[in-house]
């Protein structure tokens, strides 16, 4: 095995730096299983003009067959007052890809954790800078 591949494997085996498995919210569905970085792609803008509505797409590299599919995708915000944003159970979706619009209470990191049918967990994370509106609207 080449040196590069060896390091790559080690990195893959490491617990995802974006996800703390001792985070009670993460623990509630992983039960301490390692969450590996990869296979998940979380697409959000790096800079959001407004925290009220930010476009988000999450896709998971999966054939979506009965024996090999994504059971669920969890979306977690680091700093929202309510950190669990959504859980998508992909059922009979032929493509493991969901888009929505999220609400962010300021600049923060968000994490997408996918649970696969083999019981493994994979993740991706992104940091979104959220600008605030200049003038208070009052409604």
């Amino acid at each position: 095995m080449k040196h590069r591949d060896f390091i790559g494997s080690l990195a893959a085996l490491a617990v995802s730096p974006h996800v703390s498995t001792t985070d009670p919210l993460v623990w509630s569905f992983t039960r301490g299983m390692p969450v590996l970085p990869g296979r998940v792609k979380l697409e959000v803008p790096a800079l959001a003009g407004n925290g009220h509505s930010v476009a988000m797409t999450v896709r998971v590299d999966s054939p979506m067959t009965p024996s090999d599919h994504v059971r669920a995708v969890h979306l977690i915000a680091a700093k929202n007052p309510v950190r669990d944003m959504a859980v998508f159970y992909l059922g009979a979706c032929p493509r493991a890809e969901v888009s929505s619009r999220i609400r962010l209470n300021g600049s923060q990191r968000i994490v997408a954790i996918a649970e696969l049918s083999d019981g493994s967990f994979w993740s991706d994370a992104a940091y979104i800078e959220v600008r605030e509106a200049a003038c208070t609207d009052g409604g």
């Binding site: 309510v82 959504a86 888009s99 619009r101």
Partner: protein
């Protein structure tokens, strides 16, 4: 009665991947906002949602206040036969919502 818009192609060929885009009218009230008089507007967000196509569940979701108001969802399904696309949701006030449309599938 809350409205929803379900956007999908009028017709699809059997086996084709179909993109479905949904917008549901709902404030997804966080419970942190204050009304003009200063009182807090109570939390009320859609917490459960299910999308079925031709009877089978395509997507189920647990949503929270971290999803923006008038929630948007984009998902994919595989065209099998012509059938109903059925969307149902339930919010914190235990109000149910539903919307249907039809996917026409040509062989």
């Amino acid at each position: 009665m809350a409205l929803a818009r379900i956007d999908l192609p009028h017709e699809a060929r059997r086996g084709e991947l179909v993109e479905v885009r949904i917008v549901i009218q709902h404030p997804m009230e966080t419970g942190f906002r204050r009304a003009p008089q200063g009182e807090r507007v109570p939390r009320n967000a859609i917490h459960s949602l299910a999308c079925r196509y031709d009877g089978a569940e395509v997507l189920r979701a647990k949503l929270s206040t971290g999803i923006a108001a008038n929630p948007f969802l984009r998902l994919f399904l595989r065209a099998t036969h012509s059938g109903a696309l059925d969307l149902r949701w339930l919010d914190d006030d235990e109000v149910q919502g539903a919307a249907q449309t039809r996917l026409v599938v040509s062989p």
